[in-house]
Amino acid sequence: MTGETVLALRGVSKRFGAVQALTDIELEVRAGEVLALVGDNGAGKSTLVKSIAGVHQPDEGTIEWQGRPVSVHRPQDAQQLGIATVYQDLALCDNLDVVGNLFLGREIRRFAVLDEVAMEKRSRSLLDTLSIRIPSVRIPVASLSGGQRQVVAIARALVGSPKVVMLDEPTAALGVEQTAQVLDLVERLRDQGLGVILISHNMADVMAVADTVAVLRLGRNNGVFDKRRTSQEEIISAITGATDNAVTRREARGTEGSP
């Protein structure tokens, strides 16, 4: 059920001072596919996400959107292309209600006045579409549980009708039940034809929903695996670098040897 490639990274590199955070990263995200991005701490996952989201600009390489190269200089550029990002800290406003948070920054107006009715109606249909259940769309986000806040944050990313959604550790702070809710939601996004990039430390989550698993290690691609044909052990060994063969050894020696 995966479709055409929506977003592709070609040879993306990013340097911070003396640190080579990303080297020649290749990545393809297809419509209707969940791409899990895994790797150890410091592997470059967050840098990669931020490069796609327009927070950082890659030093080398190109980002292709629906087959043609694009330049993403600011977060707004990424949003306009149709890339929505849900950061780990959610960035919801606790004092605003669910509707206020969903439409923050793109309020619906009628005669220059907020159209609360239209926003509430759209919020309800959006949450219904995603089978998200929250007590009421008119209560402050502060009164929601961690899982509910996470799904509100994801729903907020969908208000702008994106084509690709990036989720940074969406289940990191959640309990079992809430994690299940969020993973269900990820599957629903995929079934609606969106490309989903899921960053996670939790292999169980990754194996549960991902179609493809891309492993980063020390800022480099360390394999892209089709989940159906890969075992969890293989992926973990790619993450930790336990995959031992002549090619990886020669590569490692090359980078260590260069000044």
Binding site: N95, L104, V117, S136, Q181, E187, Q192
Partner: protein, 442 residues
């Protein structure tokens, strides 16, 4: 938990299980979407119909710390009852009418303070700015004979420029607002002394626009009642229209009983106030202008994109920034509004004593203005509040001062009591916030 639904191609809709945890089991058909059953979360607290429901809802809100303006209304009732029992002249139409005029200056400044408090910041310069702008008007109009409208505009623009400068230092340079405005408090006071010159006091002509703003009282009975009728009708009309639109759109709306009760409560307050004012001289223009400012700015805060952005910034700065809100611009504009409102308040205060002098904007004006906002129910922690708290808070402070003046208490006692009231208000705010946290509402 172990059940992983493989996706939305599974067209089933399972009613909520007994454990009432909505999860994978309640996978609504995805592509059909919008018209799917508008399921209600079983954990949702649903209000019962009728009076009992109201009481239950009321108790739930209080216990979860959503006090709103309840403490201040209670405080006002207590204060009026105490001073009224001590001396019957406190609740006379004359005293209450005068009170309604005396609070306007402080109240106008407090409206601006509410804006800054909503960001979770503070402006300590409002007292000095109010004095400076009064001095600008008085010197231009009286000493230099400038046209009164030009002088009025200059004073307001002066206030706006002060706010702009402070806002830029806060938002762009990154100096804490507390420090910027503390420096401003001293600096603008110095500038005011400079503007006033050697004489130190400039008496207003008594015929200029500012004096008349304060001294004009519409003695016709129809004026006060008319304003009350218009206010009540506006509220009723807006409520009914909103409920109709909501019903048409199929989203929950206020029940008719709710609208009726609210309208009745507002009508009682409005007509009691109008009756009291008419017992004395009539409707003071200053009070009318104050109310217009409150209503208009309340609308701006609650119903416009700008207001929503102010609240968002008070809730989560990083969240607001990621939502594409121009944080610097909102901050600068809020400080500009605050200083402009301080200028407006300063003009009313100058009109009250018919002069601009070296003591203008000094004394406990700054504390009173900030206290009015906080006492009225606007949170010091940002993100919660309303311009109406300026009216309520100014009423509390004005009532205490007026009552103690009637009792002949000295300034020393007045300061101590006002200080205690402010402390009590902040304690209520902090406790409410803690309760809200505990009840998951902050």
């Amino acid at each position: 938990m172990t059940e992983q639904t493989p996706g939305g191609d599974e067209h089933r809709h399972v009613p909520l299980p007994e454990d009432s945890m909505p999860k994978g089991g309640v996978n609504a058909p995805v592509p059909v979407a919008a018209e799917a059953t508008p399921a209600v979360d079983p954990r949702l607290i649903v209000r019962q119909e009728g009076v009992k429901g109201y009481l239950g809802e009321f108790r739930r809100r209080i216990t979860s710390g959503e006090l709103g303006s309840l403490p201040v209304v209670l405080a006002l009732i207590v204060i009026w009852a105490v001073f009224g029992s001590l001396n019957s002249s406190f609740l006379s139409a004359q005293n209450l009418s005068n009170l309604s005029q005396q609070i306007v200056g402080t109240g106008m400044i407090a409206i601006g303070v509410v804006f800054v408090l909503l960001l979770g910041e503070i402006d300590l310069s409002v007292g000095s700015v109010s004095g400076l702008c009064a001095a600008i008007f008085a010197v231009l109009n009286v000493t230099h004979g400038v046209n009164q409208w030009v002088a009025l505009l200059s004073a307001l623009v002066g206030g706006a420029v002060v706010g702009l400068i402070q806002g830029v230092f806060f938002a762009k340079v990154g100096v804490p607002a507390f420090v910027v405005t503390l420096a401003g408090n001293l600096g603008w006071n110095g500038l005011m002394l400079q503007v006033l010159g050697a004489n130190g006091t400039v008496n207003l002509s008594g015929k200029d626009i500012v004096s008349r703003l304060y001294s004009t009282i519409y003695s016709s009975q129809a004026a006060a009642y008319g304003v009350a009728v218009i206010g009540v009708l506006l509220f009723l009309g807006a409520s009914v229209l909103d409920a109709r639109r909501r019903q048409a759109a199929g989203v929950p709306s206020r029940p008719v009983l709710d609208i009726a009760l609210r309208t009745a409560a507002i009508a009682v307050v409005a007509f009691l106030a109008a009756y009291t004012l008419n017992q004395y001289k009539g409707l003071p223009l200053a009070l009318l202008i104050f109310l217009v400012f409150i209503v208009v700015l309340d609308f701006v805060l609650r119903r416009t994109t700008y207001g929503r952005q102010v609240f968002a910034l008070g809730g989560n700065i990083e969240g607001a920034r990621r939502a594409g809100i121009n944080v610097s611009w909102i901050r600068i504009s809020v400080f500009t509004i605050c200083s402009t409102m301080a200028a407006v308040g300063g003009l009313f205060l100058a009109a009250q004593i018919q002069s601009a002098s070296q003591t203008s904007g000094g004394g406990n004006l700054l504390m009173n203005a900030i206290a009015a906002g906080v006492i009225g129910g606007t949170s010091l922690f940002g993100g919660r509040g309303s311009t109406w708290s300026a009216l309520l808070g100014a009423l509390v402070i004005g009532s205490i001062q007026s009552g103690m003046n009637i009792q002949g208490l000295s300034n020393a006692i007045q300061f101590m009591i006002t200080g205690a009231v402010l402390l009590a208000a902040v304690v209520v705010d902090s406790l409410a916030r803690r309760t809200q946290r505990a009840a998951g509402r902050a």
